[in-house]
């Protein structure tokens, strides 16, 4: 079943065409990758999907629902979350607070002036342990290293129990040892919690290991798609990366 369906999306900034006629589908429960040279429109596509900016034309369906005109918080509440290329965390708050606020806040206006519930706190501890930040939980998130902040942001996204996670370069700036741990955890999340992943990645080793299906963007258009080994041997993809 298709969880996310992007149909011929166009997006341009002034005269610059960032995405032209881009289509992709993400089946439920799978890990799908997006690759492409710098400036090929990968992050723009993410921004379009999560409602960061309106799209010029095309359709985006999530769980069978048209979402291209919804705002970011509304889409997030439907169960689609994204992480950023540069870490976006709440730097003056502790790790625990970062996690707590990422859970679903009580919609009930009477309970909103209460602290977070015990269940939330248990989940915070469990997920912080999962990404290996439990011992740092009372530090300010801004004092963590870049790699740790990426892990924290990943754990924060898990607090929301999303159906799909859009990860924008999860391993960029993370040291090689941590990268292996991160891949394991991404896979674990996908298998055990059934969270669908859509991953932008520059690190070929990572994406070839992780994804079951890969899309390659170049100059704002969809260049090729297929299984990892098909993509690896596709002459067009190699040309795009080498700039021929």
């Amino acid at each position: 079943m298709e969880l996310l369906n992007v149909k011929s999306v166009d997006k341009s900034y002034g005269g610059v065409v960032a995405n032209h006629d881009v289509s992709l589908t993400v089946p439920k429960g799978k890990i799908v990758g997006i690759i492409g040279p710098n400036g090929s429109g990968k992050t723009t596509l993410f921004n379009s999907i999560v409602g960061h900016h309106p799209i010029d034309s095309g359709e985006i369906h999530f769980n069978g629902k048209e979402i291209s005109s919804l705002t970011i918080p509304k889409i997030a509440r439907l169960g689609m979350l994204r992480t950023f290329q540069q870490t976006h965390i709440y730097d003056k708050m502790t790790c625990v607070q970062n996690m707590q606020i990422s859970s679903n806040i009580d919609a009930n206006w009477k309970r909103i002036f209460n602290p977070f519930s015990k269940e939330v706190d248990e989940m915070v501890d469990e997920l912080l342990a999962f990404v290996g930040l439990f011992r740092k939980r009372f530090l300010l998130a801004g004092d963590l290293s870049f790699g740790q902040q990426k892990l924290l942001e990943f754990a924060m996204a898990l607090m929301k129990k999303p159906t799909i996670l859009l990860l924008d370069e999860p391993t960029a700036g993370v040291n090689p040892t941590l990268i292996n741990g991160l891949i394991d955890r991404l896979r674990q999340v996908n298998e055990e919690k059934g969270i669908t992943l859509l991953v932008i990645e520059h690190n070929m080793r990572v994406i070839m290991n992780l994804a079951e299906h890969i899309y390659c963007l170049a100059n704002g258009t969809m260049l090729a798609d297929g299984k990892p080994d098909e993509i690896q041997n596709d002459q067009r993809v190699i040309d795009a990366y080498l700039g021929n």
């Binding site: 970011i72 509440r77 979350l81 976006h88 965390i89 607070q97 309970r111 909103i112 002036f113």
Partner: protein, 344 residues
């Protein structure tokens, strides 16, 4: 680190002292009253300015609105309305004891409600703006309100209006009554705000301060939280305004009600001086700034504003995060050193 038990003991001790202080210094009750007023102003400003990171220069609007609405209710509730040729600024209403307090209570509450309604309406308009743009937008609020109030004859226009006389037959004097009233409101504000900052709501405000884009992408309706925070501030500011009008006994649109250069600036300076974004910072800042202001005025008359400016300058240069912010940073630093040692 002060433990929670110790902190509570300190609070109770402070409250006991505050309760008996008027008996020790009967000649300085009004001055002491103003300390509580300042604490309320600083605390309410900090809700948006400190905890949410949205600097507002327009909170004075709610103070003035509370003041005027309360005064109008006090004037008109039990009297037959204005005489046709009376000058509003000279109308002094005499009320008996029960009339005075009923109209004061109703007036204060209506002032607070009007302020909240205003905060919601204005907030949904301008709180969609981020950071500095919001600050610039609020810059004109107080001034515009003063201009508008100066043009409405019903509230005395530019000459202002007089609040009712305090009934003389009461045992407790006017000064003492307003001292305890403000003590009560300030303490209630403090405890309520402390509860809010420890709650989910408070954490959402902090999240907006640290990274509003992230908060939004995590599904938090940020504008609604900002409006709610501003409304809570407006509610308590308007209550304070209603009281100030009665303590001074006279309301003037430019000099008192919507007085940007005094109350409007003080509330910001006090919160920053004590440490914005903390619960005790505004309290500390209010006590220090107001005491300093009165001391300078008493002993350095003529140079008092220079001395006050110098004090603010010293704090901004050496304690840019305020007094409590300075200590908070040091504590956080030692925390992170400790955790690194534990790692080895």
């Amino acid at each position: 680190m002060i433990t929670k038990d110790k902190q509570n003991t300190l609070i109770w001790l402070g409250l006991v002292i505050s309760t008996i202080v008027p008996f020790l210094f009967p000649n300085h009750i009004t001055l002491l009253t103003y300390i509580w007023v300042m604490i309320i102003l600083a605390l309410t400003w900090d809700m948006l300015g400190g905890q949410t990171g949205y600097t507002s220069f327009g909170n004075i609007l709610f103070l003035g609105v509370g003041m005027y609405v309360c005064a109008v209710v006090q004037r008109d509730m039990f009297s037959s309305g204005l005489g046709r040729f009376e000058r509003v600024s000279e109308v002094v209403v005499n009320l008996n004891v029960s009339e005075y307090f009923i109209s004061l209570a109703v007036g204060t509450l209506s002032g607070a409600i009007v302020a909240v309604v205003l905060a919601v309406i204005l907030g949904s308009g301008i709180l969609g703006m981020r950071g500095h743009y919001f600050a610039i937008c609020t810059l004109g609020l107080g001034h515009a309100a003063a201009e508008i109030a100066s043009g409405i004859d019903y509230i005395g226009a530019g000459s202002g209006m007089v609040t009712p006389l305090y009934p003389s037959e009461l045992l407790i004097g006017k000064e003492a009554f307003y001292y305890y009233a403000f003590l009560l409101v300030a303490v209630a504000t403090f405890f309520l705000f402390r509860k809010i900052y420890q709650s989910q709501f408070g954490l959402a405000l902090n999240a907006i301060r640290d990274n509003e884009n992230k908060a939004e992408s995590m599904g938090i309706h940020t504008t609604q939280y900002k409006i709610a925070g501003w409304s809570i501030s407006a509610f308590f500011l308007a209550i304070a305004g209603a009281g100030i009008g009665n303590v001074i006994g006279f309301i003037d649109p430019v000099e008192i009600a919507f007085s940007g250069p005094t109350f409007g600036v003080w509330m910001i300076v006090m919160a920053i001086l004590g440490g914005k974004g903390t619960i005790w910072g505004p309290v500390l800042g209010a006590v220090i700034l107001y005491s300093a202001k009165e001391t300078f005025w008493t002993y350095l008359l003529g140079w008092d504003k220079v001395a006050l400016g110098l004090l603010i300058l010293i704090v901004v240069v050496y304690f840019p995060k305020g007094i409590l912010g300075y200590f908070k940073d040091r504590k956080q630093l030692s925390n992170s050193i400790l955790s690194q040692k534990g790692e080895e």
